[in-house]
């Protein structure tokens, strides 16, 4: 699942169209749109709203290790040499109110520009730009990160921002925002989808049959909890080293003619033999 968070409906609209998302009527407090692979929530502007939105969605749909978080939206740029419409992936998020910095992992290659971003809870005006320590500003990234890190690992979170202005807020409206996202959506979507498709969920090491076999051995030998842990660890090692343990384990019991176990002494002796055989 890719979990997308935008602050505004006009930022979400091109994404909803592009991915063919449908409104999820199960959500009352937030607007949520989804298809099978993607779920999008509109947080409303501001750090607190962003954090609440992320927490809400992730509590309803707890993300797994192959899921991704994408915060996408517009941002202001301090320098005029950062043209309007440029897409940035943020490598640092500086929270203006607290002075805290957050760092998403920059592990994956991407086709965008990169920059740090400063998150402020109110819009930054042109006259205040000298106090901003990063080149970009927005109003949500730190809130998304703070909440996101409760549910995701740092390499699963991406902050994609498109320059909408150089702190002249009067020059942007929802149509412009819509247009800016629209212009870049195919590149952003292609990149995040390709990444998501390559995330693999690794299956558990033991198959259901192997789990049953271990449970049966534990029952037949009347193993203590600690012995069961040791048995699992030994079988884990054996399987990783030699590919499978089932046949060897079956033949061990046939050959050794151990069962039934009558007392603790027999159990201990048998368990020691078993551990020797498999390590």
């Amino acid at each position: 699942m890719i979990m997308i968070f935008t602050a505004l409906y006009c930022e979400a609209k091109p994404l909803i169209r592009f991915f063919g998302l449908k409104k999820d009527p199960g959500f009352i407090r937030f607007q949520v749109f989804r298809n099978e692979d993607i779920i999008l929530l509109i947080t409303k502007p501001g750090i607190a709203n962003a954090a609440i939105g992320v927490t809400h969605l992730c509590s309803v749909y707890p993300p797994g290790p192959s899921d991704l978080l994408l915060n996408i939206g517009i941002c202001g740029a301090k320098n005029r040499d950062m043209p309007i419409g440029t897409v940035y992936l943020c490598n640092k998020i500086y929270e203006m109110e607290t002075g805290f910095s957050f760092y998403p992992d920059m592990i994956y290659a991407h086709p965008f520009e990169e920059s740090g971003i400063a998150t402020n809870s109110s819009p930054v005006l042109e006259k205040h730009t000298e106090h901003i320590p990063e080149n970009l500003t927005d109003m949500e990234a730190s809130g998304v990160y703070r909440a996101g890190m409760l549910f995701f690992q740092p390499h699963q979170m991406f902050f994609v921002k498109i320059v909408s202005d150089h702190f002249q807020l009067d020059k942007i409206d929802s149509n412009i925002v819509n247009e800016l996202i629209q212009q870049n959506i195919s590149e952003i979507a292609a990149w995040i989808t390709r990444l998501h498709n390559r995330m693999i969920n690794t299956p558990p090491l033991f198959t259901p049959d192997e789990e049953n076999m271990l449970a049966e051995v534990s029952k037949n030998l009347r193993l203590t909890v600690s012995m069961q842990h040791q048995l699992r660890q030994a079988m884990r090692y054996y399987k990783l080293q030699y590919g499978s343990f089932s046949e060897h384990l079956s033949s061990f019991f046939e050959k050794e003619d151990i069962l039934p176990i009558e007392n603790k002494y027999e159990r201990k002796k048998c368990f020691e033999r078993l551990m020797r055989e498999f390590t």
Partner: protein, 339 residues
Amino acid sequence: MNGLCGNLLNPPFSHIYIERDITDHPNTIKILSHFPKSRQVLIKHYKDIFCRSRQNYSLQKQSQNLILAKKRSPFIYQGSPLCQNFGNPNFYYANMAINCVFHCEYCYLQGMYPSANIVVFVNLEDIFDDVRMLLKNCPVYLCISYDTDLLALEKFLGFSEKWFEFAGFYPHLTVELRTKSANWSSLEKFTPQENIILAWTLSCDRVWEKYEHGTPSPMQRLNCIEKALAKGFQVRICFDPIIYIKDWEKQYRELIETVFLKLPADKIKDVSMGSFRIPCGYLKNMRKNKPYSSIINYPFRAANDVYTYPSDLSDKMNSYIHGLLKKYIPEEKIFLWNN
């Protein structure tokens, strides 16, 4: 746990994080000059990025980034009881870098640190000052390449060279520089010092192939050691950790025979050996990071918060290898780590 197939990752050191306080430090400037294409991100403190919670160590290892930081006190630490002191009572180690460009599956660093990114502390001069202070009281035996492989980083760090220069002034200081690298191009520029020991870890071919990813082969290391001995460097050979594998007797016998066929035994300063051991907490983290690594999933036995092979097995491995080594090296030059 998840992985990522296909090559979607940034190349190593695509990003360099630099603490604000040391942006002008000469070592920072020198290191950065080696990576003109890397993106630089300014940070307040290296722990802000290195110690973030829930980092994916295995994934980071595939796309390591570099963090340049300032080491704050303490600069020197007491040696760990899990490490050999080679008969030196004043045994210390110093960290000027954390983490390694190589990837040995059994490496304790994976269990010790929350991130696989490499931290370099650029203020070497503060560590030197601390060593000078210590030397006022007693001779010092100092290991400088424990939580990293300093020689493997030499091309862009240049720290080993600085230690060679420093140690030349302090005869009561003995420095051990442990490595798995075969970086002769750096070493050949150094002047051998009586009090700097180059300690090479050697493993048998099977262990190298399966578990020591990215490291030079044992033969490449041996070629480098041969040149180092010929140039007059002090050389220690470390068969440590000894790893249990199916045909370990044959593998280690062949390794030891090859070593002493190639190297003049009388020129080797000493030899260390010891079977694999690791603090319990570290192994737990390592298994979480690498649940499919067979070597760290061996059912080790815990005693005093340290995991080791069962005592009968580690005794057997130690005495077998000790027996082999005795054929080539006087017993007093063989240092065996024992529980």
